[in-house]
Subunit: 597 residues, 2 copies
Amino acid sequence: MDIATPTSRVSTWLARFSDALERQDIEALTGLFVADCYWRDLVALTWNIKTVEGRDAIADMVRACLPAAHPRNWAIDGEATEAGGVTEAWLTFETDAVRGIGHVRLQGDLAWTLLTTAQELKGFEEPKGATRPKGVSHGVHKDRESWAEARAREQAELGYTTQPYVVIVGGGQGGIALGARLRRLGVPTIIVEKNDRPGDSWRKRYKSLCLHDPVWYDHLPYLPFPDHWPVFSPKDKIGDWLESYTKIMELNYWTRTTCKSATWDETTKDWTVVVDRDGEEVVLRPKQLVLATGMSGVPNIPEFPGMDRFRGDIWHSSKHPGGDGYKGKRAVIIGSNNSAHDIAADLWEHGADVTMVQRSSTHVSRSETLMDVALGALYSEEAVRNGITTDKADLIFASIPYAVLPAIQKGGADVMKERDRDFYAALEKAGFWHDWGADETGLFMKYLRRGSGYYIDVGASQLIIDGKIRLARGQVAEITETGAKLADGTDLPADLIVLATGYGSMNGWAAQLVSQKVADKVGKCWGLGSDTPKDPGPWEGELRNMWKPTRQEALWFHGGNLHQSRHYSQFLALQLKARMEGLPTPVYGLPEVHHKG
Amino acid sequence: MDIATPTSRVSTWLARFSDALERQDIEALTGLFVADCYWRDLVALTWNIKTVEGRDAIADMVRACLPAAHPRNWAIDGEATEAGGVTEAWLTFETDAVRGIGHVRLQGDLAWTLLTTAQELKGFEEPKGATRPKGVSHGVHKDRESWAEARAREQAELGYTTQPYVVIVGGGQGGIALGARLRRLGVPTIIVEKNDRPGDSWRKRYKSLCLHDPVWYDHLPYLPFPDHWPVFSPKDKIGDWLESYTKIMELNYWTRTTCKSATWDETTKDWTVVVDRDGEEVVLRPKQLVLATGMSGVPNIPEFPGMDRFRGDIWHSSKHPGGDGYKGKRAVIIGSNNSAHDIAADLWEHGADVTMVQRSSTHVSRSETLMDVALGALYSEEAVRNGITTDKADLIFASIPYAVLPAIQKGGADVMKERDRDFYAALEKAGFWHDWGADETGLFMKYLRRGSGYYIDVGASQLIIDGKIRLARGQVAEITETGAKLADGTDLPADLIVLATGYGSMNGWAAQLVSQKVADKVGKCWGLGSDTPKDPGPWEGELRNMWKPTRQEALWFHGGNLHQSRHYSQFLALQLKARMEGLPTPVYGLPEVHHKG
C-alpha cells in the first residue's frame, strides 16, 4: 500500500535527483527517470531551448552541462498534486549563473517529464518591486538631468554616437515584447519598424479583423490588460495597446525605418546594419541581430500563368486592404486557411460576390470550442479564478514536451469532433474539404508543425454552409484577363483576386537582409520535424531556430503568437543579456540543419 | 474567561446587528455600539459620503435610511483578527440597490467603527472578468461597424448630435480617474482639458519635479503601474502614463478646450456648458457637471503694494516655468510650503541665488520617513507582500473615521520627531520656522484640514540647513522696482519673485464658471471643520463637498491626491451612474454650509 503523499513522493525523488547531480552520478540520475522520459530545458543548463528525450539523451546532456552549470538547491515550491497516476510539482533551483523554476511529473516514483527554466541571471536581475528605481535622486544637485532630458538624450544618441547592443528588425508584437524584456534588463536596443506607428501591422489589416486568440492568452509581459478588455481584441484596439505599451516601456522604437542590409563581421564580432530611417541612411553596429519580422515569414506569391494580364485587382492576402469598395464586385480568394476565410467573410460583409478556391484540405476549429476545450484550463476566466496566473499558465504549457503533445491534442480534437458534430457535417455537406491533420490532432499541431492549414472559425464557416461564400476546389491553371481558370476548366470571373497563399519560412528574411548563404546556413525556421505535410523530419523536439542560438553567430529569430512572443521573449532576452555581460554561455545541442527553408 | 475567537466574536455581533436591522429595532441596534462610536458610509445607505458619530447620530441615520436601503445578507469575509483589544473583520452585505463591502472594529463585544461602502449597483455592474465584452460579434454581418469605426463615430457625435450625461471640467489625474470609472459604467462623459495633451498639467511644471507620494499610493483604477515603475514618478513620466491611460481607457477627452460658463436650468434639469474647443464654441448639455480642476482651487494672488512696478519677473508658483535661464540671478520666493521649497531647490540647482520668505510656520516631513512611518503599512512593497492590494489598502484607509485620525497621526508624528531629531534641530538652527500642526499631528492632518502648511522634503531642507537657500521671515510690506521689502524693513533684491502663496477653495472654480451665487450656495470645499488654522468649525466629519452631493443639484467636486482620485472616483461614479439609471438616490445628511470659501 502506497501511503506517500504527493509532496513526500516528489521530495524523495528530488532528494535523490539532487544527490545524483551533486555527485555527478549519471547512472543514478538516469535511473530516476522512466524509460520514456523528457527533460526540457529553457536556458537554465543548456544555454539553449532544448528537449532531450530518453535516458541516454539525458545522460549526454547532463554530462555536458553539469560542470559549467552546477545546478543545486532544488526545492519543492508549494504542494505536489496527483491525478491519474501522475504526480506533479513546481520546483525552484539555481545554477552558477541563474535562478530557475522547474516542474516535474512523476509516474510512480520516477520522473516522466522535467522542465527547467532560467528565470533570472544572478547579479543581473531585473529591477522590480523592492529593487525598482527610486525615480528621483534624493537631495538636490546642480545641473541635474531630469527623466525627460535623460530620455531625450538617449533617443538622440542611441544609434548615432552610442551603439545598441541589440537591433530587432520588426516592431510587431514579437519585437515589442522582446524589446520590453531587454529594456528591463538594461540591454541597449533599437527596434526597427517600417510602419508609421507601433501597432500599424495590426491596424493596416482588413477592417473586421479581431484576434482569434482570447485575451487571457494575449497579455504582453509586465503590463496585463485591464479586466474589462474584450475577449477578442479588435485589430485597432490591439494596435493602440501596442503603441501605448511601447511608450510606457520606454522602448527605442524607430518608426518609418526599413532594414536594407545586415552584414556580420567575423573579426570584430559585430553586425553592420544599414537602415533607412524616414529617408535618412543610418548605419548601426549592434553585437546581436534579432529578426522579429513575423513568424509567417516572406509572403508566398505563386507564379500562375497570365497573372500580369489580369485586368482587376490582384494581390497577396498580406496586402489586402479590406472589403471597402467591393460592393457588387466578384472576388476570388485563392486559398482556404485563416486569412482566406477572414478576407472572404469581410468581402461578403461588404456586399461582394465571393468564391473561395480550396487547393487542399483545411482544418477548421470553432473559436468558442477552441477556447473551452483547448485553452480553458490555462487561459480563461476560470483559470484566473483557480489561481493560474499567466506566468504559471505559460510554464505549464512549456512543461509538456512537444513529443507528448499530439496525444493530448488528439484527445482535445476528439472532444471537439463530438461537440461540433453537426457543424462539421454541415460544412462537409457544403463541399468544404476538411481534415483534422495528419494524425487527427487538430489545429495546434498544424500550427506548430507548419504554421498553416487551418481556420479558427469566427463566422465564415456559416457563410460557407449557407452557400453565401461559394466554394471551388482544385488547382489554379491560369489567370485570365477577367478571372481565374482552374485545372478542371472551371472559369471564375473576378474583379478582385486575393492570393491567400501563405508565407515562407522566416529564414527567407535572413536571405533578404543578410544573404542567401546565411539563410541556408541557419536553415528552415519553425516546425518540429514531425515528418507530416510541410514539416519534414528528422524529429527536432523543438521549433527550429526559434528564440535560441542558430548556426549563424549572433543571429536570432523571434516570433509566434502573443503567448509565444510573451513567454519565449523571456528566454531570448536572458540569452542576450548573458552575452552582453560576458557570462559564459556554452550552448548544448545546437541542431544540425536539415532543410534550407 | 473569554474563549471566543475573533471570528466568532464578530459573527455573534454581526448576527445581532443584522437581526436588529431586519426588525428595525433602533434601540437594539445602537446598543451594539460603544458610546464613542462611528459609522462611516460611502454611498451604500446614505447616497452620501457621511460619518455619523455616536449612538444618537447612528440612530438618526439608520431610521432615515433603513426603509429605502434595506441592508441585508451580512457576512464575514475571511477571518477576523484581534490586536490590542480591537477585533476587526471584513464584511459583505447588500441593499436594495447595491452590493457592498464593510469593515468593523469591535471593542469587546461592541462596535467602535463601522464602514459600509457601495461596490456596485445591482443590475448595473461594470463588465469585467467573465462579463467582459466579447470584442467581436460572432457570426458575420453585412455592413458591420468595426471597433475603430464605432469609436470614431462616438468621437464625432458626442457633444454634437448626442449629449454626454456628464461633463468633467479638468483632465488631470482626478478627471481621468473619474472618466475611466464612468467609461466602465457606460456613462457617456466628456472631459474638458485646456492643455494640448493629457498629462500636460504635470509636464508643464518645473523640470525636476517628481511625485512626492510613492508609487504604491499612486495607481490609477484598473491598470496598475508595472512593477518596475519608479518609487517617485518623474513628472513627464507620469504625464505620459496619464496620456496612455486616457487612450487605453477610451476616454472622450477634449484637449485644447476651456470651459467658458456653465448654467443650471432648474426646469429642464440640465446644464448648459459653453466650451471653447480649440477655437470653436461648442455648447454641451449634460445632466451632471463635475469640477475636477484641482483640489488646490484658484491661485491665491496676493495684492502687495507696488507689484506692478517690479522690473523683474513676478508670477504665481502655478505659472513658474522652472529654473532655466536664472543662473546667477536673484530669486525671492514668497511662501514656504511644498511649491516654495520645490521651486527654490530647482532655482538653486540652476545656479540662482535664492531667498525663501517664511510668512508663517511650516511643517516638514522627510519623504523617506513619511514612506516608512505613515504609508508603509498600507502602501509599500511590504504591504504588497502581505497581500494588501491597493483596493484593500484604500478601504482600510477609509475605515478610519476622520475624528479618530488625529490620535493616530500624532503617534506617527511622535515617531518621526524622534527618528529625525537631528534633522529638525538642524533645520531650526538654520532659522526655519517649523511646526507640527495645531495639535502636533503633523503633515496628513494639515493636508486634510487646509491642504497647505507643509513640505515633503526631497532635498530642499538640506539646502536650507546648509544656508544655500537663504531664509527671511516676516510679512511682505511692498514690492519695489528691484525686489521685495519686508515689514521689518529688510530689502530683498530680486530678478524673479515667485508668489508661492497657495490656492483658494475649489468653489472658487464654481464662482468663475457658474456664478458667485452658486459658489456661495455650495460653500467652501475641503477641510473637516476641525477648528484649527484655516479649517474653521463646526465639525463636519468629512471633507466638505468632495465626491458627494452639494447644495447645488447636479454639481460635484472631484479631486485630491492620486490615492483620493483613485478611491473616491469609485463612489462619485456610482452616484452619477445611479442618477443616470433613474435609481432612487435619497441623500441623507447633506450638510449645512457654514463658510463661503
